[in-house]
Symmetry: C2
DNA sequence: TTGAACTTTCAGTATTTAATGAAAACATGA
DNA sequence: TCATGTTTTCATTAAATACTGAAAGTTCAA
C-alpha cells in the first residue's frame, strides 16, 4: 500500500473529487476535470501511471484526457533528462488559465454560433415587413451582441493581469 | 398537412435546428435549446401542442423543458383571455437575456465551485511550508479570482445596456 | 535488429442523460 | 357532481457519452 498522505493531500483529494463533479455539470467530463485539478495542485510534473493510480482510471481514459487537456492548452508535456516517458504539468497561473479557457471556449462555442446567426441574418436580408423583418432584426441583434462580446473578450485576453485588474477595479469602484 | 411556410420560416428552422445542436455541445440539452430558439423567434406566444408539432417531440419532453426554461427565467407563461391552456413567450431583448443567463450560470456553476475552494483553503490554513503552503496559496488564488469575477459580473448585470456598452467601448478604445 | 518501455487506438461495456407515452392529477364549466 | 381539456409525473426505452483493457503501434538503446 501507499504511504500515508500528508495532511494537505486530504484537502487536495477533496478538491480533485469535487472539481470532477462540478466539471461534469458544466460540460467537461469528470476525468478530464479531475486530471486538471490534480495537475494544477501537483508540486511536480506527473506521468500517466501516477495519474492512473491516484484517480483509479484506466490507461486509455488517462491518455485520452491528457491529450485533450494538452489540446486545450491547459497542461503541457515535460520531458525529464534520461527518462523516456512523458510527464505533464499544468499552467498554474490563474489569470493565464482564465485566458486559455476563454479563448478555447470562444473558438468552440461562440465561433460556430456566429456562423449560424450570420447565415440566418443573411438569408432574410430582403424581408421588409412583419414577422420576417422581426426575425431578421433578432438575428442581427444576436449577431452583433456576440461579435461585441468577442471583441471585449479578445481585448481582456490581451491584457496583463495587473492592467485588467486595474480596469475592473475602476468599474467596481 | 400544414400550410407552406413563409420564406423567413426556412431560416427560422435552420436557426432552431442549429441552436439545438450548439446547445448540446455546451451543456444544454437539445430540446431545451430548440424550444428557446423557437420562442425567441416566435411572433406570438406558443402553446405546448404547437411546440410539440413544430419540433416533433413528445408532450413529456416539451413540458419538462418548458418548465426548465421558465426556471431559468428565459421564458414566461402567458395566459390568454377565455383560454384555458398556457402559452409561452421568450424574453427577446438580447441584453436582458444575457443578464439572465449570466446570473443563472453564476448561481449554478460559480457558487458551488466557490464552496469547494473556500473549504480547501480553510482546511490548509495552517500549512506554513513547502507543498502544503503552495496548495493553500493555489486555492486562495482561485478563490479570490472567482470572487472577483463574480463581483464584476454582478456589476455588469446591474447596468443598463447603454452604460455597459459605453463602458465597454472605452475599453476597446 | 531486437526487445523493453512507453503511448495510442479501439471494440466492447458501463454509465449517464434524454425522450417517450400513457396514466394520474388537476382545473373548469355545465 | 361529472365530463372535458390540460398539465404533470414517471416507468420504460433509446441515445449519447465515458471508460476499460488488451492489442497494436512507436521509440530508442543496446
Amino acid at each position: 500500500m501507499s504511504a500515508a498522505l500528508p495532511n494537505w493531500e486530504k484537502a487536495r483529494d477533496e478538491f480533485v473529487a469535487q472539481w470532477g463533479a462540478l466539471g461534469s455539470h458544466w460540460g467537461i467530463n469528470r476525468t478530464m476535470a479531475q486530471i486538471h485539478a490534480l495537475l494544477m495542485t501537483a508540486p511536480e510534473p506527473m506521468h500517466t501511471d501516477e495519474i492512473m493510480e491516484r484517480l483509479r482510471v484506466s490507461r486509455g481514459n488517462a491518455n485520452t484526457n491528457l491529450r485533450e487537456l494538452v489540446g486545450w492548452g491547459l497542461i503541457r508535456v515535460v520531458l525529464k533528462k534520461g527518462e523516456r516517458r512523458e510527464y505533464f504539468e499544468a499552467e498554474k497561473d490563474v489569470w493565464q488559465m482564465f485566458i486559455t479557457i476563454a479563448k478555447e471556449r470562444k473558438r468552440r462555442e461562440l465561433d460556430p454560433a456566429l456562423m449560424v446567426l450570420r447565415s440566418c441574418a443573411e438569408q432574410t436580408q430582403s424581408e421588409k415587413t412583419g414577422a420576417g423583418l422581426d426575425f431578421h432584426r433578432q438575428m442581427r441583434e444576436l449577431q452583433e451582441f456576440v461579435e461585441f462580446g468577442m471583441k471585449v473578450s479578445d481585448t481582456v485576453a490581451s491584457m496583463k493581469h495587473a492592467s485588467a485588474l486595474q480596469w475592473a477595479m475602476r468599474l467596481l469602484g
